[in-house]
Structures are given as structure tokens and as C-alpha cells.
Amino acid sequence: MNNSLIVLPIVIQFLAGTVLLFFWLKTNTQKVLSGLFSAIALVISIWLFMLVWNQGIQVTQSGNWKAPFGISFVADVFGATMVLISSIAGFAVSIFSAGSMRKERLEFGYFPILHFLIMGLQGAFLTGDIFNLYVWFEVVIISSFVMMTLGGKRKQLEGAIKYVSLNLLASTLFLVGIAFIYGLTGSLNMADIAIKINDIQNRGVINVTAGLFLVAFGIKSAVFPMYFWLPASYHTPPAAVSAIFGGLLTKLGVYAIIRSFTLIFGGDEFMGIIMSAIAALTILSGGLGAMMHQNMGKIFGYLIICHIGFMMVGLGIFTELALMGTVFYLIHDIVVKTNLFMVSGVILKINGTQDIKELGGLYKNYPMLSLLMAIPLFSLVGIPPLSGFWAKIFWIQAGLETKEYILIGFIVLGSFLTLWVIAKMWGEVFWKPGEGLPKKANGIYFDQLSGADKWQWIFPVVFLSIISLYIGFAAENIIVLSQKIAGDLMNPTGYIESVLGIKLLMP
């Protein structure tokens, strides 16, 4: 199906970023416009999702060049779902930023950069061209560099050095991988590569290329030996920035791994073993790291790593059922992680600290707020029927079918470590009696805000909590969705046929 309107999610974010540039110092106008544009983007992505769900894969060829020659934009169900979820997270973060970001940071162009970052994400989810994917990755990382360093605090700069250098290295490796792919197949269109790569006799070179892609995307998604930049940098910027980073940036890496390792390097046994090993070690190191820290930002940072490990399990087992779990978890994780960093921002605003040893008594002082924060926290642990629970059933079932008992053990261990960390945090922050933390004289705390300002902090948390509850309680809808996506990923014939506009001969 040819439909050039599928690039609308990218265009609207580009428009938002550009329009906001004209209101450089008028931060209040920027706040309103950013929320408005994010709401429009949300509506557009819902439309795109419904279109793709009802009418199948939508393709557009830029400049009307036929498929393997021009850049293709493809909206399949997976891509459209990711666009929808990232628009939801983007909308929430836009509102949250309006409340939580300081004026000094807003005056240096925070909102335009936010929209350019989300534009990069939408582009990466919609493109069907591997080099174009690289370009969108660069759009995302340059925006994230600016967001990370905006404000120029000592801690931020220190975190940024690690973040910037490792991401630049990852981009270079990705480029080297693309060079190999182009040399092997003579094509950059992912659907075209998927066909041509089967004819290549020299599997060794393909495995090397797959390894380059794995390392490049692995650095971006923070899997086991490549995750050290994440806990060093993610807690340093303000909560709104951490929310968009924690929710979306690492998941972009996971998306790219899922896409390239199903479509291009699908079902290689050697890669399956490596993925399983990475998954197990990522779960273990993330979980243990989360156990030993006391700063909420750092704990959530390590929990991101732990749960990236969960998603890699699906790729390690590599059956339809396991991928279904991974897709379900990806949808759940973006919403919950964005929400969690916003929760940690609200807690920081209330008490002026994120150290769980110092915090306390939140449940007594703010019972309704605590109840609200319980939703993302317990969704993360996966207490049934909340949203983190369902994906694990599929992984365990898939693991039993393929006799991957060690991986099942790691999933259970990872869930247990998460439970332990969240239980400790709940005990320390919410239940432990704690009064009267010393308050800085010049700081503005949550209690001193006006009602409308308070809602700018609370509304995004409520919004994402409702989405989380929906994912948990209406799990059957999400299961149908992830089943469809996993089916498409395991059998990419439909994707290839739609992009290239040909009929494949089935062997």
C-alpha cells in the first residue's frame, strides 16, 4: 500500500521543533505550543496505528524512486506501535517538562531539542533503509547530547563525557557495519538486504557484520559488557530529561536489535547463543547494581539495564512466543520507565533529595500521591495483574518449550531482584517514619507550588499510570497486538513484499 502520509509523525515533530525556535526566550509560549504539538502528534500516531492495523503495511518511497534505489519509509505494525508509544511518552514528558524544567534551561532551547529528539525516534521507527536509520540515530544522539549537557552542572558534564564518547564510538561501529553490508549485498534497503544476504556463501563475514551491529546497538541499548555509561550519566540531568532518556533512548537500541536480527540476520544459531549469554549477564549485573545503590536515579538506571536483559531473552530463545514476550515487554517498559523517572522527579521536588536512606514518611504525608506512585513501581516488578507480569509468562513458556532452563532461571532471578529493590525502596521512601528534612532556603518545594503548577507535575504521572493499568488489565488486546508483531517479525515475507512491491517465490 502506497501512502505518503505515513511520514506525518516525523513532519509534525519537525514542525514543532522549528516553530518553537522562533519563540526562543518566550518560555511560557513554548510550554503551551509544545504541549499542543505533542497532543497533535499523539492524535496523528493513533491515526497511523489504526491505519496500519486495519489496512496492513503502508510504504512510501521518497522521491518516487523505486524500492531498492530510493529511501523507503515503512509503517508496519511494529513500527507504528513504537511510534504510538513514543508519542505517548513524548506527550507526557512535554507536559512534565513544562512544570519541572527551570527557566534557565528552557531559555537555552530545551523544548525545540525535545521535539527534534522525538522526531529522530519517529524517523528511526519508520525508516526502511539502513543508512537512513544511521542518520536518524545521529539526529537522536546529537539532540540527546544537548539535553544531557544543558545547564552545565559539574556532574552533568562528567556524565556527558562518558555518554558522548561511547555513543560516538557506537555510531562509528554502526557505520563500519553498514559499509560491510553494502559491500556484501550492494544494497541499503533493509527488505532488499534481507533477500540478498541469503545468497552469500561466506557466512563468516556475515557473522562479523552481525557482531558489529550487535556491539553498536548494544552500546546504545546498554547490554552487559557495554552498559557502564548508563549508570554514570542517566541520573545527572533533570528528571524530565532522564524520563525521555530512560524511557525511549535505550529502547531505540532494542528496537534496532530486534529489527536487524529478525529481518537481516534472522535465526542464526551462533548469534542465539551470544544473545542468550548477553541476556543472562545483563539481567544479573543490572539487578545486582540496583541492589547496592541508594540514589533513586541510579537505582532506576540499573533497573533499565536489568530489564533490557529481559528483552534480550526473547531474542536469545528466538521463537514466536519469546518474541511476543519481548514486544509486550517493550511496550510496557517504555511507559513504565518514563513514568518512574518522573516519579523520582516528583519525590526530589517534595523532599529535595533522592537518597532513599534520607527519605521517608512519604506515605503518611502524601497518601494519594503514594498510591499513584505505587502503580508504576509495582507494574515494574510485575505483580499480577499489572503490566510487567504478562510478558514473563510468554518467556517462561517459550523457555520450557525450547528447554532453555538457565534463561528461565535468570528471568525468575531478575524479577526477584527487581522485587527486592522496589520493596526496599517502598519501605525506605514511603513507609519509614521520616520528618523534616533540612530544606534549602532558596529552593522551591512541591508544597509551595500553586494548584495548577502541581498538576503539571502530577498529570503526566497519572496519564502514564492509566496507560500502564490499561496494558495490565486489558492485556488481551496487547497480547493480540504483540502476537501479530511477533508473527510478522518471525516471518518477514509480508514486510519484504510490501516494501519491494514484488511477490516472493516461496521455497
Binding site: 546529537i142 547530547f145 558534564l157 564518547s165 564510538l169 559491500g183 545527572t236
Partner: protein
């Protein structure tokens, strides 16, 4: 020509990796730049080197009759150079700023975000 390019690409990658492993922040950026140039040359090489055959179909013909130079790698390299240029200039400004605030060039001293619990 290919052999020469292969050697240069290898040297750029080796030099880049060596510089990345040094402790100085400044040398790290140099390393990233060298690696980026190595990757760009690699794309160029992977598109096959063909001399003196422009990708233009001759008069009176509908298709290429002989081997021709692939124009795509040059477009890719150009894009990669532009993107790399932007990122590297950002990184250079960043290290200048970090050096001014933290007053050190030693990466081993930038560990306060890792050490705090």
C-alpha cells in the same frame, strides 16, 4: 590502489583505538576522529573502486554495457562526513567546557558519578 586503501584504513582504525585507550580526554577525541575517518574510507572501499567509468549510460543505449563506478558510496561518505563533523565539533566544545569546569584532562579523575552510591 585497494591494498593501499586497506592499509590506510587499518592504520586509521588501529591509531584511533590506541588513542581511545589513552587516559587523556583530548586524545580520546582525536581517536574518535581517526576512527570516523577510517569508517568513511571503508565505505568508499566497499563500494568497489572503478577508475574512469562514470555512471552515465552512453548515447543510444538503454542499459550499462560495461562496469561503472558506483556513485552511492560517495553520497554515503559525504553524509557521514557532515554528520561526523557536527558531532565532533560538539565533542570538542564539550571537552573544552569540561576541562574548564573540572580543571583536569585525565579521564581517570572523572569518576565522581561512578563512585557515589
Amino acid at each position: 590502489m585497494e591494498i593501499l586503501l586497506i592499509i590506510i584504513i587499518g592504520l586509521l582504525h588501529a591509531g584511533g583505538l590506541y588513542m581511545l585507550l589513552r587516559r587523556s580526554m583530548f586524545k580520546m577525541i582525536i581517536g574518535l576522529i581517526l576512527l570516523g575517518n577510517g569508517a568513511n574510507l571503508l565505505i568508499f572501499l566497499m563500494g568497489r573502486l572503478v577508475k574512469g567509468h562514470p555512471p552515465v549510460i552512453e548515447d543510444g543505449l538503454k542499459v550499462f554495457t560495461e562496469i561503472y563506478a558506483d556513485p552511492l558510496p560517495q553520497a554515503l561518505v559525504l553524509t557521514a562526513i557532515v554528520i561526523g563533523f557536527g558531532l565532533q565539533s560538539f565533542a570538542i566544545i564539550l571537552i573544552k567546557r569540561v576541562h574548564r569546569v573540572l580543571e583536569t584532562d585525565d579521564l581517570d579523575e572523572l569518576n565522581s558519578t561512578d563512585e557515589e552510591i
